[in-house]
Symmetry: C2
Subunit: 519 residues, 2 copies
C-alpha cells in the first residue's frame, strides 16, 4: 500500500537511494525501501513549488481557506489508516494519535477561518495628502504577502501535528506559500498518507500541483539540500539543538540568507513557590509526574527542571513525585536512536558527583525509557552547565535552593526556554514579583499553576522563545500568529485601485489601518 | 565644544584609541581626537544598557512616549548647532539637514503617538473555557515585549534620520529597548550633539541612564564588539553590502544568534512603460535626473537602473535625461572614501566593452561626484552581474530591451531591491500585469509614477526588501511598523490580572484581540 516515494508536482516519484523504516517496539522492518531524496530530487521539489508560487500566492483567502479545510477533511477520511501506520512507526498509543489528528485538522480549520478574517495580513493605508507642505504625501499602502516556497521538516515527536500537514505547513499554506516537506525518516509511511491527503485536496480544490510536495529522506543530504536550495525562502523545523543549529547555520550562510524557524530544545523550568509547596505540594507532585512522563517525556514542553527551596515541603514533593513516577511503566520511545540517546544522557548524569538519583525506574526493552529524577543543590547546578541541557525523555532535575537569592540566581542562569512555570498561591505573589521579569526574558510562555505540556492552538499562543528554545525569538510555531512567519511586507505607492491586492482596496471587507485608524 | 567621548550610563567618558574627523570639502581636520571604542568600552555600554533594561522596558507607553517627545524637543533646541556641525562633517546643504532634522523629530513624535495607540504590541486574549471537552482551555494571553538591549549603527548618508536618534533608535526606544549606538565615524560631532540631546531627555523624564548610550568608533573592532556582545539582543544597520554582510555573519554565528536588520544595497529599477514613455518621456526624464542626483545620489532609494524598450521614445528619454544631468554641477560626497569608491566603480564600468557612456559630467574636487549614465542592451546586462551591483552615487545604467520578453527577463534577473518603479499610463496596464508579480517578489516597495527617493515616514511604509536590499525581508527600517523589529511575543497562561502586563488586562484601553474578535 505504501510506495516510499516522493510527492513532487502532484505525482508520486522515485529519487535517490532508499532506507528502511523499523518498528521501535520490535525492530521489525516496516517499509523495506523508502526513497532518500538526493540533491537533485530536492531541487525538483523546490522547482515545482516555485512554479506553483505565482498562482498559489495569488489565490484569494476564501480559496485558500477552502483548500485548508479540504486537507482537514481528507486527513479525517484517512484517520484509521493514519493511526494504524503512525502507531506502528512511533509506538504512540491510539488515543494520543487520534487526539493529535484532531489537533492537526483543528489547526487547519482555525487557520482557514483566520485568513478569511484577514487581519493577519496587516493591511495599512496612508492616503495621499496632495496639498501637504513642504511636500505632498503620496498614497502608500502595505500588506503582508507570501514570502516564497517554504521548506518544512517533519518532527520525530509529532507525526501529525508538527509534521507533513502540521503547524508549519498549515501556516505556510495559509500565508500563500507552497510547501516542500522533508518527511521525518521514522514515520515515512505516516508522511505518505498525509501527503496523499493533501494531493487529493489540491486536486479537488483546483490548487496548483506544486503547492505541496513531500520529499522523503533519512540522509543529511536531503535536509541540507532543502535548506540551501535558492528557491526555498524560509524553513520551519522542530527537532534537536544540534541538528537544528546545523541547519540554521546553513540557512544564514546562503548567498541569500533566509529565515529559519527552528524549535529546538527546552528544559521548561518549574518554580515551586513556598506557599504553594506548603499548601498543595503533593497535589502538584502528582500532576508534575504525569506531565513529565506524558508521551514518554518526548514533548518539547516537558517540565525537566524543578526549582524549590530546601525544606520538608520540598522533601515531601520529591517523595510524592518519585512515588507517582514509580507507578509509571517504562514505555517505548519514538526510535531506537532516541532511546539510546536518553540512556546515554542519564548515564552521564548518574556518573557525575554531587548529583543524587532520587528515583530511577527500570526500562524493559531496548527502545524503552523509564523516568528518572536527579537532585542537585543550586550551587552544583550553577557550576555545571551540562545539567542545563535538555534530556529528551522522562528525566528531571530538581534544584534545591537555600534562599530566594539562590532561586533568582538559577533563574538568571537559565538559557532560553519555551515555557517557565510558577506553582504559586496568592501568598507567593511577593516572592514571584522579583522573579517574573527575569524569567520573562528567558521564556516564550509563562504559566501559573498549569503544567507546560499541552500547547493550546489559539491566537494568543507563543510556542518558541529565546535561543536555544528557538532560533528566532520573534516567532511562534503554534497558533494563528505562526502565519506571520511566512509573510513579508510589501508597500504599494500611488497605485490604481485595480492594481492593488484585494486587502488594500478601498472598502475591503477585511481589517485595515486607514490613516492610522483601525477599521 | 565637542569632546569626542562616548556616552555611557549617562556620563561622557573616554575609552580606546582616537581617530580624526575631516571635512570632505577641504580635507581639514574637524576633530583631532575622537575616541575609538575598543571591546572593553563597548562592553561597558552594553552592560549599562542591560542594567537599564528592567526599568526601561517596564515603563508605561505614556512614559516612553513622553521620553521620545522630549528627545525631539531637545534635538530641535540644538537645531542650529546640528546643522552647522553636520554640514561641516557631511557636506550636506543646510536645507537638506534642516529637513532631515524635521524628519527625525517627526519620526520620534509619530512613534510616541503610535505606542500610545498600542496596537503595535498585538495584545491577544484567549479566555479560559473550563468546561471544554475533552480538555478545558486555559486563559492564554500574548503581548509583544521588548527584545533586549539593541545595537544601532549610524549611517553615513543620513547623519540625523538614520543615525544616533534615527529610525532604528526611535523604534527600539519606542519598543522599550535600551539602545547603544555606534556612531558613524564621518559625523562623530553630530552624533555627540544628538546623544547629548538624548542624555538631557533621559534626565528630564527620569529614564534610567543606560537607556541610551553612544560609542564612537572608526575601527572594525568597535562595530564587531557591539554585534557580538552577548547582552545585545538585536542590531539595526544601514550601510554597504560588504560591511553589512560581515556584521550579519557575526550576528548569526554568535552562540545565541540575534536578529540583524541590515539595510544594504539597492539599484531601484525604474520600468519605463511604452505608453508613458511615448506620452511624457521627457517629463519623466527631468524628474528622474533630479531623483538620481538628489543628495549626490547618496540615497539608498537612488534610481540607478532604468529599463525601457528600444526605439525613438527611449532615445528621447535618454537625450533629455543627459541634458538635464549635464545641468547638475558636481557635488561633494559624504566622505573621501565614498568619492573614491564612486570614481573606481564608474571607471570599472567605463572600461567594460559593450557598455556605452551616454553622458559624463566632470568632477572638480577630489571628493566630488558628477553624474554618469551608462547604456547597455538587455543581453549585455543579463550576462554581466557586475552591472547589477549598486554604485553609491549619481550613476545610472539604462537597459535597452528589444521586447516585452526582454523586459521580463531583466525583471526576473533582478536581485532584491528596496523599491521598483513603474512609469506607466493607463494604456500600459496590460504590459505591467505580467511584470508586477515578478517585480513584487524582488522589492519591498512598488511605485507607480513617483520617484523612489523620498521615503515617507508613515504606517504603510516598507523600507527594506529581499536580500541584498536587506538582511531581513520581514522587516522595515522606516515607519511605525519598524517598532516590531525590536519586540518578541510572550504568552501568559492562567495569570492573575495583577500579574499581567497592562495591555493584557481585562478592559485595557488599547486594542486587544479578544477570543478572536478585535476590540
Amino acid at each position: 500500500m505504501l510506495s516510499g516515494k516522493h510527492l513532487i508536482d502532484g505525482a508520486w516519484v522515485e529519487g535517490g537511494k532508499t532506507f528502511q523504516t523499523v518498528s521501535p517496539v520490535t525492530g521489525d522492518v516496516l517499509q523495506a525501501a523508502v526513497f532518500d531524496a538526493d540533491k537533485a530530487t530536492v531541487a525538483r521539489a523546490a522547482e515545482a513549488a516555485e512554479r506553483a508560487f505565482a498562482a498559489y500566492s495569488a489565490t484569494s483567502v476564501a480559496v485558500r481557506a477552502a483548500f485548508l479545510r479540504q486537507i482537514a477533511d481528507e486527513i479525517e477520511a484517512r484517520g484509521a489508516d493514519l493511526t494504524e501506520v503512525a502507531g506502528k512507526e512511533t509506538a504512540l498509543p491510539e488515543m494520543r494519535l487520534n487526539g493529535e489528528r484532531g489537533r492537526t485538522t483543528g489547526q487547519l480549520r482555525l487557520f482557514a477561518d483566520w485568513i478569511e478574517e484577514g487581519g493577519c495580513f496587516d493591511a495599512r493605508i496612508d492616503r495621499a495628502m496632495p496639498d501637504r507642505q513642504p511636500l505632498p504625501r503620496p498614497d502608500v499602502r502595505l500588506v503582508l504577502k507570501a514570502i516564497g516556497p517554504v521548506g518544512v521538516f517533519g518532527a520525530s515527536n509529532f507525526p501529525l501535528a508538527f509534521s507533513t500537514a502540521g503547524g508549519d505547513t498549515a501556516s505556510a499554506l495559509a500565508a500563500g506559500c507552497p510547501v516542500v516537506v522533508k518527511g521525518h525518516p521514522a514515520h515515512a509511511g505516516t508522511a505518505e498518507i498525509v501527503a496523499e491527503a493533501i494531493r487529493v485536496a489540491i486536486k479537488k480544490t483546483g490548487m496548483p500541483k506544486g503547492a505541496f510536495g513531500l520529499v522523503q529522506g533519512a540522509s543529511i543530504e536531503s535536509g541540507s539540500a532543502l535548506v540551501t536550495h535558492p528557491l526555498i525562502k524560509a524553513v520551519g523545523f522542530t527537532g534537536s539543538l544540534r541538528g537544528g543549529r546545523a541547519l540554521f547555520d546553513l540557512a544564514v550562510s546562503r548567498p541569500e540568507p533566509i529565515p529559519f524557524y527552528g524549535e529546538l530544545g527546552s528544559i521548561n523550568p518549574t518554580f515551586l513557590m513556598p506557599a504553594a509547596l506548603a499548601s498543595r505540594g503533593e497535589e502538584i507532585a502528582g500532576g508534575w509526574a504525569q506531565s513529565l512522563t506524558m508521551g514518554v517525556g518526548q514533548f518539547c514542553t516537558n517540565p525537566g527542571l524543578v526549582i524549590g527551596l530546601d525544606g520538608p515541603d520540598l522533601d515531601a514533593f520529591i517523595a510524592r513525585s518519585c512515588e507517582a513516577l514509580g507507578d509509571v511503566p517504562a514505555q517505548t520511545m519514538l526510535t531506537a536512536g532516541i532511546a539510546k540517546a536518553y540512556a546515554t544522557a542519564i548515564a552521564e548524569r548518574e556518573a557525575q558527583g554531587n548529583v543524587s538519583v532520587k528515583m530511577k525506574a527500570d526500562a524493559a526493552g531496548a527502545c524503552d525509557a523509564a523516568p528518572i529524577v536527579f537532585e542537585v543543590t543550586s550551587d552544583v547546578w550553577l557550576e555545571n552547565p551540562a545539567l542545563h541541557d535538555e534530556v529528551f525523555g522522562p528525566a528531571a532535575v530538581v534544584v534545591r535552593c537555600q534562599s530566594a537569592e539562590d532561586v533568582l540566581k538559577v533563574a538568571e542562569a537559565l538559557e532560553g526556554q519555551l515555557t517557565a512555570t510558577f506553582m504559586m498561591d496568592d501568598g507567593d505573589l511577593e516572592a514571584v514579583t522579583p522573579l517574573l521579569p527575569v524569567v520573562e526574558r528567558k521564556a516564550g510562555r509563562l504559566i501559573r499553576n498549569n503544567f507546560p505540556t499541552g500547547v493550546e492552538v489559539c491566537h494568543a499562543m507563543m510556542h518558541g522563545g529565546p535561543y536555544p528554545a528557538s532560533t528566532d525569538v520573534r516567532s511562534t510555531s503554534v497558533g494563528t500568529k505562526a502565519i506571520e512567519r511566512f509573510l513579508r511586507p510589501v508597500s504599494y505607492q500611488n497605485f490604481h485601485q485595480d492594481m492593488l491586492p484585494d486587502a488594500l482596496k478601498d472598502g475591503a471587507s477585511t481589517p485595515q489601518l486607514d490613516n492610522g485608524k483601525r477599521s
